[in-house]
Amino acid sequence: MTLRALLLVATALFSIGIYGLLTRRQAVALLLSIEVMANAANLVFVAFARYGGAPGHPLVLFALAITVAEVAVGLALVMLLYRRHGDTLLDLASEAKG
């Protein structure tokens, strides 16, 4: 079924996002990875809305809103990081060390 294919693709997309989440050192690049992951989740919702009649579309709209909010705050944090350390490498924010 195409549903299964869709789900597998979405899972692959999410996994790619995880790879990016764990690998990237730049803060903005990390946010990009998170975007990819959120996108994959939305894809799943839409797939199930098409195959099975789940109320996926409203969920996607709300997910979109939440994601947008998250990006906004995330970028604000990146600004803070840059101002604090002069660069946006995430490892600089290691005050929780030890």
């Binding site: 989440l21 490892d91 924010a93 290691s94 060390k97 030890g98």
Partner: protein
């Protein structure tokens, strides 16, 4: 709870309360006199209670009131409480009365001490009375053991009372470790008894070999506590303690606890004939040996110490012959006249500021009350009829008639002669003849010291009257009869006394005195124990200390160190880097998914 049990508890609680208050509230102890008042008050209550108990008739029936102790799986490991019968009540009376007399005496005798020491002294006395009563009233051997060890502790504390004196400190340690070594017998006896019977009572029928083993082990402890040969060497050294302590602990009560224990556990010892045989010979040997050494001592307290040792030998021999009554009777009379003698000696020491006989002399004129009471005590000890000591000694000799081919009987008869002889020596050198330089300025002691002397003098003289009462309580009989033994005993006493008076008034010495003095100085037994202490006990202690410091402490410190090291080792996990934490989240999520999916 019956009134008798209440009275018994008073004898326990009153001194304990006095001791606790003195210990827990330092100001009372530090001021000295308040502690003394508390202790004497406690002893008064105890003595009163014991007197009331004496007036009850407990012959033939015993009152036993206990509560289980250390309850495990619904059953107590042992029992704690009191047992009131014809064995415990008389001893209770003796202990409380003598303790009271000694404590009142101490009020004046210990006056030279600092208030803090004074208070400490009386706190110890209160503790002692409680401990001794715990032993006397014990319903089984477990509580008896507890009381036994406690009095041993107080003995250590009081012998070494002046702990800044090296001789006193050493004497205290010596008494402690020697008696503790002997007490291991008691401990193993308890273990054996529990293994065989599941309880600690002496009122059980045991297989012969078990009875012999148990009784033998207990007797080992008795040898230590009651200073029987060869475990006697701590007693003369124990004279380092204050004289009232010598009177109470090391003459009247604590050392007699061993004899009391055998009387108490008579049903057990009656089943152990070999042990009894051993007791007969050990007691006889001790009595003779100690009497010989007592003849050549120059320190008045040491004479009395060896005399105590000898008399304890008499008691043990009587017990070995199977007569618990004779041993117990002598225990009672001895408590009174020996305490009297020690307190009298203390009075003399107080007057001339010396323990040595050569610093005394001619004190009869200057200290009449002390002299008279001391003389009465000496006569009682020497076995001069009709004084108490004669009656009890006669009972012992009667019990020994025919045993082991009359040999112990003969030896003890000779020892009675020696006893009278060495006491005569003391009387002459102390109270008669020409006074020494120190004695010339002596004067009678204050009433606080002389009144107890008089008080103790009464049972010393009249104690024989209580014999039949005591015998009936123990299920036997006693009557004064005119037979071979009493006549010979009287002759031995009178003869010994007369001969010594004649010898020493003329300023001469006894025959063989030189040899005996040399024997005393050689202190063979003492050296043997000292060697054992140095070469076995101390190294063992050192080894155990090493184990404790490096293994036990090491283990504990190791655990602490290990914990800290482990914490440090795990620290690098906290990198502070977001990526690492994200990895942890993802890995955790994956694991949880696996868990959920493959359930």
């Amino acid at each position: 709870m019956s009134p008798s049990v209440t009275l018994a508890l008073v004898t326990l609680v009153a001194p304990l309360a006095a001791a606790l208050v003195s210990v827990v509230i330092p100001p009372i102890r530090h001021r000295g006199m308040p502690a003394a008042i508390l202790t004497i008050l406690g002893s008064l209550l105890a003595t009163g209670a014991s007197a009331l108990l004496l007036m009850e008739d407990v012959a033939g029936r015993a009152i036993r009131a206990t509560v289980p102790w250390l309850v495990v799986q619904g059953r107590g490991l042992g029992e704690v409480g009191v047992r009131l019968d014809a064995v415990s009540i008389p001893m209770l009376g003796v202990v409380c009365l003598v303790a009271l007399a000694v404590q009142v005496y101490s009020v004046a005798y210990m006056h030279g001490e600092s208030p803090r020491s004074y208070g400490r002294y009386f706190a110890y006395h209160a503790l002692f009375l409680f401990s001794m009563n715990t032993l006397v009233l014990a319903p089984d051997l477990l509580q008896a053991f507890a009381g036994w060890e406690l009095v041993g502790l107080v003995s250590y504390l009081l012998i070494g009372f002046h702990f800044d004196r090296p001789t006193a400190a050493r004497a205290a340690v010596k008494a402690f470790w020697m008696t503790k070594l002997a007490d291991m017998g008691f401990l193993f006896a308890l273990l054996l008894l529990y293994a065989r019977t599941g309880a600690f009572s002496w009122d059980v029928a045991l297989r012969p070999e078990v009875a012999e083993a148990t009784a033998g082990l207990v007797f080992l402890a008795v040898m230590g506590k009651s200073a029987q040969f060869p475990l006697h060497v701590w007693l003369p050294d124990a004279m380092e303690g204050p004289t009232p302590v010598s009177a109470l602990l090391h003459a009247a009560t604590m050392v007699a606890a061993g004899v009391y224990l055998v009387v108490r556990a008579d049903p057990l010892f009656a089943q152990a004939h070999w042990v009894q045989g051993g007791m007969l010979w050990v007691g006889t040997a001790t009595a003779a040996f100690a009497a010989l050494l007592g003849l050549v001592q120059t320190d008045i307290k040491r004479v009395l110490a060896y005399s105590t040792c000898s008399q304890l030998g008499f008691m043990v021999a009587a017990l070995g012959a199977g007569s618990a009554f004779a041993g117990y009777f002598h225990l009672g009379t001895h408590a009174f006249f020996k305490a009297l003698l020690f307190l009298g000696a203390g009075s003399v020491i107080h007057a001339v500021h010396s323990n040595e006989l050569k610093d005394m002399g001619g004190l009869a004129r200057r200290m009449p009350l002390t002299a008279v009471t001391f003389a009465l005590g000496a006569l009682s000890l020497a076995g001069i009829p009709p004084l108490a000591g004669f009656a009890s000694k006669d009972a012992i000799l009667t019990a020994l008639e025919g045993r082991a081919g009359w040999i112990p009987w003969a030896i003890l008869l000779a020892t009675a002669f020696l006893t009278a002889f060495y006491m005569g020596r003391v009387l002459v050198l102390t109270f008669l003849g020409k006074p020494s330089a120190a004695a010339a300025h002596a004067h009678e002691s204050p009433p606080a010291m002389t009144i107890p002397l008089v008080a103790l003098g009464i049972p010393t003289v009249a104690g024989a009257l209580l014999g039949p009462w005591l015998a009936r309580g123990l299920g036997g009989e006693m009557h004064l009869h005119l037979g071979l033994t009493p006549v010979l005993a009287s002759l031995a006493g009178l003869g010994g006394l007369g001969l010594s008076l004649v010898t020493y008034l003329r300023g001469r010495e006894a025959p063989l005195a030189g040899t005996l003095a040399a024997l005393d100085r050689a202190s063979v037994v003492d050296r043997f124990w000292a060697f054992g202490y140095r070469s076995l006990l101390l190294p063992l202690g050192g080894a155990l200390r090493w184990v404790d410091r490096y293994l036990v402490d090491g283990l504990m410190n190791g655990v602490g160190w290990g914990t800290l090291e482990a914490g440090q080792a795990v620290r690098p996990v906290q990198t502070g880097r977001t990526r690492d934490y994200a990895l942890a989240v993802v890995v955790g999520a994956v694991l949880l998914l696996i868990l959920a999916a493959w359930r």
